[in-house]
Subunit: 209 residues, 2 copies
């Protein structure tokens, strides 16, 4: 899906070369969004800044809302692999906690950049709304693993609830991270998962019968 303009090792491609990459285009748009605000930046402005036609831009990204996301799917595949390689006797919640933390680990030099992107994604209403659609794929990864471990289908109540809980905890952690300049994202994620364990482990609850 990405790097589609880099010449493949298996022979040169035929036809006209793409004039830009998804990553470049995403990066250029992000610059503009951060500088002028998401709403104040038109798609035309992004296309002009990238030196491509407006029509071409919509061939790279299906909507303006998708521009800041860049290559999210690549990260998902990594998370899938990570989960596959975990020992199968790892407790479910621990396995998922580890995987989610790993998913959000970035090289130190990328962190300021990542922060600005997440600041947009979690604060611009249009992007907050749109993000739900992207998170669905993320939840699917979590639900698939939970289903595998529980021996049930991934569209059952249990895997879906678990996936939602991990997503929610992650977003709560991100919100804290953006609010506190000096905070550590991975620690906040772990803290959020601990909240889940402690809050919902309170056993004075009587399951409704």
């Amino acid at each position: 899906m990405d790097a589609s303009n880099a010449p493949k090792t298996s022979g040169a491609r035929i036809g006209r070369q793409p004039s830009i990459s998804h990553a470049e285009l995403s990066h250029i748009s992000l610059q503009l969004f951060i500088e002028n605000g998401f709403e104040n930046t038109t798609v035309d402005a992004v296309a002009i800044a990238a030196g491509i036609g407006r029509r071409t831009l919509f061939r790279y990204f299906p909507s303006k809302n998708d521009l800041p996301w860049g290559d999210f799917d690549a990260g998902l595949e990594q998370m899938r692999s990570f989960l596959r390689m975990l020992p199968s006797d790892t407790p479910l919640v621990e396995a998922l906690s580890l995987a989610v933390v790993e998913f959000n680990r970035f090289p130190a030099e990328e962190i300021p950049f990542h922060r600005e992107r997440m600041d947009l994604l979690l604060n611009v209403p249009a992007l907050v709304a749109h993000s739900t659609l992207r998170y669905a794929a993320w939840r699917q990864v979590v639900a698939d693993y939970a289903a595998l471990r529980l021996g049930i289908e991934s569209d059952n109540l249990e895997p879906q609830t678990i996936a939602w809980a991990f997503l929610g905890a992650s977003l709560a952690a991100y919100e804290q991270w953006l609010k506190h300049e000096d905070a550590d994202l991975l620690e906040l994620l772990e803290a959020a998962f601990v909240v889940l364990r402690t809050v919902f482990a309170s056993l004075e609850i009587h399951p409704a019968g």
Copy 2:
């Protein structure tokens, strides 16, 4: 916020009467969306069906996406009251479970209607995305109560994580409800909350039979 065109008991209102109510307009739009699909129904078509101008429609609802929601805020206020009236020694998770179940209790005759609305809200991409913004207010109610009970601010990690978890569990329950014609929504909600308690208490999960 609603019933603004019904004459108030305290004297007649001044100025021209609203030509329609939010509830009526929402209902009319829902009919069209269900019949023809959300994407295939233009705002103009809704306005015409409602016998009002297109411009007027946007004074009642800020966007097409808001039309199917109707009066969501009224339910939120009810949930707030419900939580306020609970004994303060009710365990936090139990209190929230009860409140959320109560929030989703509807008269039997409204259930088929509610089902169709939720079917739209949870399946039409544009509405799924937009719903995140509406759910934020819902989460705030949960977070506020959790914060109160925990003696911390509602924008802290704990209340936010708890609110996300309850929202996620509720949505997972709704998805099951829509998928199984004969399912009971309130039972599914309780089941989803039990999933949270058992999974995060690291107990054994038994797939629902």
